[in-house]
Amino acid sequence: MTKTEFICAIGKELNIINTGDWKVYPPVIQQDKCKKCGICLMYCPTKSVKIIDGKFFIKLDYCKGCGVCVHECPAKAIEFVKGEQL
């Protein structure tokens, strides 16, 4: 039996699941094509799109590689980088 500090089923510390491991290829935003419309950020199910210094980036830690951003980007600025299989 695994003991916890609790007397009934509760959880306090945040559970971290490395869903970044799920992806086959990483999606990457090509900054020269990016129109900064923010659609990728709005539609990313894992909230992996970040804005740094006004530019959009995909943080790959928890990105599962679903491809929604690639499919939805109106500027076709996001591509799976196939050479970089993880």
């Binding site: 695994t2 007397i7 009934c8 089923a9 509760i10 959880g11 306090k12 559970n15």
Partner: protein, 395 residues
């Protein structure tokens, strides 16, 4: 200081609960519990009672509302009967395993079919293993006193379990008798405010309640639950003693012995039927027969040690059950007693079943039961099949 009022069982329960000041009350009306809900509504409407009353659309929701409220930190109260309890089973089991000290009176009523609205503890006994504390009471004073004590037992930090105060429908719920009602200040000093520390849904202290839990953790929680049940035995007695000292009424904690000192022939009872069994014991004593009885008050946790201590060395034992364990052909309390005393040298025991569906268990029937116990004790024959107690007078 207290005052005597003339109350039916439901009214006594309502007043007991009101004195305990539950913050959230949610109950769905069902015969024979309905007047209890009506009393609450009226007391709130009259400004006498400062509880938030929620009128849920079912018993399932009644228990669910209380689950949420208790998780948020509220002291909570509800009541139900039979089919309502059955509908409530899903959240009922959950409340105990979440260790929420909810107090629920069960106004015991037969389970259908056939259609019946009358008294009998088949409803709550059937779900005795759902992790709640269950205490069965005999009269209206005990209803009121135990409804107050229930909160103190349930909320004890060594217990933290929900509790049922069970009383027979109609026999107690609709019986009117004199009841001593304690003063609010006295109850306040007996019963401190409930402050949960083990589980709480509050944005200031975020936590997950019931994450997906693998078996190795679940078993650990079950072990703690079992320990809490053991602790409850001690706490029920302590709360009883404190109550007795403060209010002058002793209800004997887990088991009440009656004329047991030198008793050879013993009846074991539960709930309101105890009264006529007491009379039968007195009548036997007048004839020089060493009769006695024990009233099981706490069915969960089951007072195994106390029962062994009280029943060892007796000549014969009869257990009166107003309920059935189908497939065992006895009542449920009988099985509990038999299990408890299995370590004792074999003593003849007789299972009795009667009083189902609101049939009276008259004094005459209790005399009949005691006669049977004596006969079995003398012949030293162990009976396995239940002896039915049939009330001819009512037919």
């Amino acid at each position: 200081m207290s005052n005597i009022r003339v109350l039916d069982g439901n009214h006594a329960a309502a007043i007991g609960a009101i004195l305990a000041k539950p913050e959230i009350v949610a109950a769905y009306p069902i015969t024979p519990q309905t007047p209890l809900v009506q009393h609450f509504s009226q007391y709130v409407a009259d400004g006498v009672m400062d509880s938030t009353i929620i009128e849920p659309e079912s018993e399932h929701s009644a228990m669910s509302v209380l689950t949420g409220a208790s998780l948020a930190g509220a002291r909570t109260f509800t009541a139900t009967s039979s089919q309502g309890l059955a509908l409530m089973y899903e959240p009922y089991f959950r409340v105990s395993t979440m260790r929420l000290p909810i107090v629920m009176n069960i106004v015991n009523r037969e389970m259908i079919s056939p259609q019946s609205v009358w008294g009998g503890p088949q409803d709550s006994l059937t779900i005795r293993d759902a992790g709640w504390i269950q205490i069965y009471v005999e009269d209206n004073q005990e209803i009121l006193d135990m409804t107050i004590q229930a909160f103190k037992i349930a909320e004890n930090k060594d217990v933290l379990l929900p509790i049922n105060i069970c009383y027979d429908g109609f026999y107690l719920s609709h019986m009117t008798e004199g009841v001593e009602v304690p003063m609010q200040e006295e109850v306040n000093s007996f019963l401190p405010k409930y402050i949960p520390t083990h589980v709480k849904l509050d944005p200031l202290t975020p936590m997950a309640v019931d994450p997906l839990t693998p078996g190795n953790y679940l078993q650990y929680y079950r072990e703690l639950h079992m320990q809490a049940m053991d602790n409850a035995k001690r706490v029920i007695k302590e709360v009883n003693d404190e109550f007795a000292e403060k209010f002058g009424r002793n209800h004997f904690g887990l088991v009440e012995p009656y004329r047991m000192d030198d008793a050879e022939y013993v009846l074991v009872t539960l709930g309101s039927l105890t009264g006529s069994a007491r009379v039968a014991v007195d009548l036997a004593r007048e004839k020089g027969i060493k009769a006695g009885l024990i009233k099981i008050r706490a069915l969960r946790p089951f007072p195994k040690d106390e029962v062994i201590e009280l029943l060892k060395g007796r000549k014969a034992i009869g257990v009166i059950d107003r309920n059935i364990s189908f497939g065992w052909h006895t009542g449920i309390v009988y099985q509990e007693i038999k299990s408890a005393i299995s370590s004792l040298e074999a003593v003849p025991t007789v299972p009795f079943i009667g009083g189902l569906g609101g049939e009276d268990l008259t004094t005459e029937l209790m005399v009949e039961a005691l006669d049977k116990v004596m006969a079995v004790g003398e012949s030293n024959q162990i009976e396995n099949a239940a002896h039915w107690l049939i009330n001819q007078k009512g037919r």
